[in-house]
Symmetry: C2
Subunit: 203 residues, 2 copies
DNA sequence: AGGAGTTTGTGAACGGGAGAACAAAACGGC
DNA sequence: GCCGTTTTGTTCTCCCGTTCACAAACTCCT
């Protein structure tokens, strides 16, 4: 979040900013921001603030997005198409190297300049491009088996859009994006608003 | 998450389950699950477990998804199309009532059986269908103004896909889904794996 | 009917994140 | 060169979510 805020400030021409400004831009408390940044090192100057470009680079380096990360997307349906066409990943340090789908009818397609390839090609692609991050956008029933294949092929980080709990070995990271649950959380608060007006809070 | 796990168990024919089973299905600790459920009431039976269907209904009622929530999606680009076509929302208590876009060229389109309408229709739709939940899938630059319009129209819950911090009045809930940040978190752990092998953890 | 075996519900301990507050450091003006 | 001002880095405290552990409650078998 800080990285994004800093990029925004840099684009706006700001060269220096205080923790207060940056915190406001990122939508967090300034004390928390300072503490977070202090874990990376002392990149600020007391009485002055932070150099936007310098701090941006330091955070990018810490996260590891100064290099480009190759990514494969599996399941080129509704969501897979949107992800493949999304330009924002590219500009944030990620490069989609392959689109895979189990359905042979999809293999004719070209999406975002990439051929949709057979899921069978997974191992070869992972090996060739040294891919360590995989995105799962298949139906829920297929997600676990896709994850297993990914892990076997050498992928060690998975972003899962299917509404399932994935089981993976130690050493493999999984993050899930669950849109239905997001909506349900909103619905819950919404329901409470109509029952007890004037009592609202959100994370 | 529990709701989803229970639905899965019910579809699999399970009528009764222990906190241990349910926790395993949902991917959490069983003590946490029991404590969470205890906030809703004492719906279990000691020595037996929980009645799947009964508990499922109780959680759905608590969340507020026994009724259908009308939802509007603004920004029918790559992501908006995917969301509009997604059938999973419908089955989880949400009904997309309108698709809005500022681009007149999009207004000819029919997506998922719905006309893409002008953003100007927002107020009328919100009033007519008593919409309280809005989804923002526009570019980041437009997100804040769309949010303002939504709030003015009477929407009090927003799901935001644009990579921006939204500012809204008290009483309005915002949740954001930020895919780039998810990937960056994975990249960070990935980088650390290659530096210090054998030290990994994920949320 | 009673005891053994299960499983829930919850009190207590633990851990960690978030914010308030302040000392240390840098800058600028005189 | 010194003092006031600004802002960072960090300590301390508070609070909340998570987990452990166990008594209470229920079932089933004898
Ligand atoms: N579309 C959305 O907006 C949305 C929203 C929330 C969650 N999701 C979830 O994302 C996932 C994808 O959604 P979608 O709408 O794109 O579905 P979809 O049905 O449009 O696409 C799924 C794709 O996965 C492919 N596939 C199926 N099994 C496969 C396998 N074993 N290996 C490789 N590819 C396989 C199918 O051929 C298809 O192209 C689903 O789990 C869905 O629940 C989607
Ligand atoms: N596509 C993805 O997979 C993806 C992934 C992560 C984040 N996002 C974010 O989601 C948002 C949408 O992404 P996308 O790829 O669908 O973009 P897109 O450009 O394909 O679609 C954006 C749509 O919003 C419409 N729009 C623009 N201004 C508007 C306004 N003021 N009011 C109403 N509609 C307006 C445009 O006409 C267009 O149809 C972006 O903020 C993007 O950063 C997308």
């Amino acid at each position: 979040m800080y990285l994004r805020a800093l990029t925004g400030l840099a684009e706006g021409g700001t060269t220096t900013c205080s923790s207060e400004e940056l915190a406001a831009t990122a939508g967090v408390n300034s004390a928390k921001l300072r503490k977070d940044l202090s874990y990376l090192g002392s990149y600020g100057t007391r009485g002055v603030g932070y150099d936007v470009e310098y701090l941006r680079y330091q955070i990018a380096r810490e996260i590891g997005v100064t290099q480009d990360w190759p990514v494969v997307i599996v399941g080129i349906g509704n969501l897979g198409h949107a992800l493949a066409n999304y330009s924002g990943f590219r500009s944030r340090g990620f490069r989609v190297v392959a689109l895979l789908d189990a359905d042979p009818d999809r293999h004719d397609e070209v999406v975002a300049g990439l051929d949709v390839r057979s899921f069978e090609d997974l191992e070869a692609i992972v090996k060739e491009d040294a891919v360590s991050i995989g995105v799962i956008a298949t139906p829920a029933v297929a997600a676990q088996s896709v994850a297993d294949r990914m892990v076997a092929a050498g992928i060690t980080s998975i972003l899962n859009f299917a509404p399932t709990v994935l089981t993976v070995p130690d050493g493999v990271d999984v993050r899930k994006v669950d849109l239905s649950i997001e909506l349900q959380i909103l619905a819950y608060h919404e329901q409470r608003k109509s029952i007890a007006p004037g009592s609202e809070v959100v994370s």
